[in-house]
Every structure is written in C-alpha cells, then in structure tokens.
C-alpha cells in the first residue's frame, strides 16, 4: 500500500519544545521552510542589489526584473497611490512564490499548503485594507457596498451581496492558495504511489503523468503567488480609489 498522500503535510517538531504560556511555538518543519524561503529571498536580492553595473549580471537582472514586474503589476491594478505598499506586496509575492517553489523540491514541506498560514496572510491583508479604506475615506468607505446605477428596489439585495462578498475575501483568498497547493501536491503523491504499486510494467504511464504534473505544478506555484499578489492589489485599489 502506497504511503498516505496526506503525510507530506504533517507538521512535526524539530528540536526542543518551546512554550510561551500555554502556546506551543516550537520550531517545526513548517518554520524551517519559512526561514529557508525568507533567507533565499534575502540572499538572492541582496546579491542582486549589491553593485550596480551598466550591464547587469544574471542575479542582478533577476532582482531588477522581479522589482519592475511587481512595480508594474501594482501600478496597473492599484495606480500610483499604492506606491507606499509596494514593499509589502513585493515581500508577499516573493514569500508566497518561494514557499510554493520550495514545495516543488522532493521531500520538502510546502508552507502555503496549510490553511492557517494562508489564512493569517489573507486576514492580515483584509484587515489592513479595511483599515486603510476607513482612514482614507472615513465612513465614505461604506459606499463600496452601494454600487452606483442600481435600481432602488434591488439595492437592499445588492448591498447584502456586496457585504457578503467583501467579508468572504479573506476566506476565498486563503482557500484558493491553500487548496491549489494541497490538491497539486496530493495528486503528485498519488501518481507517485501508482508508479510504485504498478511497478516496472505498468508504472510508466503514471510516471509520465507525474512528470507532466510537475511542470503544471511549477506553473501553478507561480500563478497562485501572482494571483495572491494581484488580488491584494485589487483589494488595495478598492480601498485607495473608491470608484463606486
């Protein structure tokens, strides 16, 4: 019997148990990969920004291309007012991207395949965007729930729908990333298990599937990080430029 495809998502303690009060904040494999991803980002971008040559080398080019990529994404979706939040969205995008990509290496742990991680990120974004909206527009931010050009008869219904869709933002944002990551990795594990159980005779078909899935999953890893960042930009845009 193949290994349980869900065991790859298990979190276990590395090193001693650390407790603050009743809370267990031990260093786990999830923490390890969070630290690794952050370190990788910091190292790559530190090398990439160290010296400024007229003809950038590969790492510098990588850093500068990702910088302008995120900058363009933000200015396209949220306009020039979102510039102060550039660093946050950049770190968010890079963090999610590197966590997803680290998860693609065999025997590693995917940080973003845990609902709690994505939910904390998403709710942080949701709360900050709401606070920014109220600071920028005061109670006028509530106009977000009242779209213009809607017949008065339909207005109560529309407002309720808008409020529900607004409140479900953190859930949809977090579940999208988490479910994509988990489903992809589970699928890869299942196909890998098929390769073992079908053996040398029949294992080639699931193996080829597995190879194809790996490519797909790398694409998904990038795409989900991009979607996560761009949705953050869109929410930010709602808070900064109230169009309704």
């Amino acid at each position: 019997m193949a290994a349980n495809p869900m065991t790859q998502f298990e979190v276990y303690r590395i090193g001693p148990e650390i407790k603050i009060g009743v809370f267990d904040i031990s260093f786990t494999n999830a923490s390890l990969f969070m630290v690794l991803s952050s370190l990788a980002i910091l190292i790559i971008f530190n090398i990439g920004s160290k010296k400024n040559s007229m003809l950038p080398n590969k790492i510098q080019l990588l850093a500068e291309l990702s910088y302008s990529f995120v900058a363009k994404m933000i200015s396209d979706t949220a306009g020039s007012k979102a510039k102060p939040y550039f660093a946050f969205i950049f770190s968010l995008f890079m963090f999610v991207l590197f966590c997803n990509m680290f998860g693609m290496i065999p025997y590693t742990f995917t940080v973003t395949s845990h609902i709690i991680v994505t939910f904390v990120l998403a709710s942080f974004i949701f709360i900050s965007v709401t606070i920014i909206g109220f600071i920028k527009h005061g109670f006028g931010y509530l106009k977000l729930f009242v779209p213009s050009g809607v017949p008065v008869v339909l207005l109560p219904l529309i407002v309720i729908i808008e409020i529900i869709s607004y409140l479900s933002r953190p859930i949809s944002l977090s579940v999208r990333l988490f479910a994509n990551m988990m489903a992809g990795h589970t699928m890869m594990k299942v196909f890998g298990g098929f390769v073992i159980s079908l053996g040398i005779v029949g294992g080639w078909l699931p193996l080829s599937f597995s190879v194809a899935l790996t490519g797909l999953e790398i694409l998904v890893a990038f795409l989900q990080a991009y979607v996560f960042a761009i949705l953050t930009c869109i929410y930010l845009n709602d808070a900064l430029n109230l169009h309704h």
Partner: protein, 196 residues
C-alpha cells in the same frame, strides 16, 4: 468518537479530496490545530523580518540602481542627440560655406570676364579711332597730292619739253608759251587720267 470522525469526514469531504479519508489515519494534517500557534508565530516572525529587511535595505537599493541606470542611459541618449545635432549644424555650415564660395567664384569669374571684355572693347575703340585718323590723314595727304599732282606734272612737262626743244633746236623757248601749251594739253587729257 466514531460519530465525531464520521461527521468530520462528511464535513471535510465536502470541501476537499476523497483520498484524504481513504487513508487509515484520517483527516488532514492542516486541520490539526496542534501547531497552529507555532505556524502563526513563525510566519509572523519570518515574514516580518523579510518585509523589514526588504523594505528598508534591499528594495531602496534596487530602486536607486534602476533609477541611476535609467538616468545614465537617458543622459547618454541626450548626449548622442546633442552630438548628432551638432554634427548636423556643422554639416549645414559646411554646405553653406561651399555654396557661398561657389557663388563668389562665379561672381569673380563674371567680373573678370566683364573687365576683360571692357578693356578689349575700349582698346578696340581706341585702335579703331587711331586707324580711322590715320586713314583720314592718308586720305587727306592723298587728296593734297592729288590736287598738287597735275601742276607738278605740268611743271615737269614744261621743263622736259623746254630741254627737249633746246636740244632739238638749240635755242631757248619762251617758258610761258610752253606752259600755255602744256596747260592746254593737260586740260584736254584731265578727263582721261583723273576722272575719279
């Protein structure tokens, strides 16, 4: 206990994959809250450090690098542009100088030709005048000679005829009678020889 697992499986089955619950251990590790606090803590810590370092140290540097390169490229482009304009204006100046000098050369050539023509004309005129004068003089001399010619001829005729008469006859002949005869003859023959 069994009831709880059953309800859990139904609830999560609705959300997620079937394989999860086919396995013997059951449930998703993601929904085990044992390490939630740890994950939240480490996420906040690592992401916080990442954000602070990126926003304070690394991103400003990249932005400065990009700006510097952009401005340098812009400067280079502007310098090239100005040099191009410069060379174009120089080329224009050069063309102007050439066309000007061509015009000047033409003018000088024209002037020289006119001058030469003028001097030639004036010289020719003076020459023509001189020639005319000389011709007139000659004509006058000729006419004077013409007028004097018959008298001289008459004189010579008279002298020779008196000499001839002396030698033939041996006596002097009156000059006046001879001259009268010569005059008479010359008057007769004038129309013959001087009828112009």
């Amino acid at each position: 206990m069994i009831k709880k697992i059953f309800f859990q499986s139904i609830f999560f089955n609705f959300f997620f994959l079937k394989e999860v619950f086919a396995a013997e251990s059951g449930g998703m590790p993601q929904l085990n809250p044992e390490f939630w606090v740890s994950q939240i803590f480490w996420l906040t810590l690592t992401f916080g450090i990442l954000y602070v370092v990126l926003s304070k140290l690394i991103l400003p540097k990249i932005s400065v690098n990009l700006e510097l390169r952009k401005s340098q490229i812009q400067e280079n482009i502007e310098a090239a542009e100005s040099q191009r304009e410069n060379s174009e204006s120089k080329l224009k100046e050069y063309d102007e100088i050439i066309s000007k000098s061509k015009l000047e050369a033409k003018n000088i050539f024209k002037e020289a030709r006119e001058k030469a023509l003028k001097t030639i004309n004036s010289k020719r005129e003076t020459l023509d005048k001189q020639i005319d004068e000389e011709i007139k003089k000659a004509e006058q001399e000729i006419s004077i000679l013409k007028k004097g010619a018959p008298e001289k001829i008459n004189k010579i005729a008279i002298e020779t005829s008196s000499e001839l008469v002396k030698k033939l006859i041996g006596t002097d002949v009156n000059n006046s009678s001879l001259s009268a005869i010569v005059d008479d003859l010359s008057k007769k023959n004038r129309n013959k020889y001087y009828d112009n």
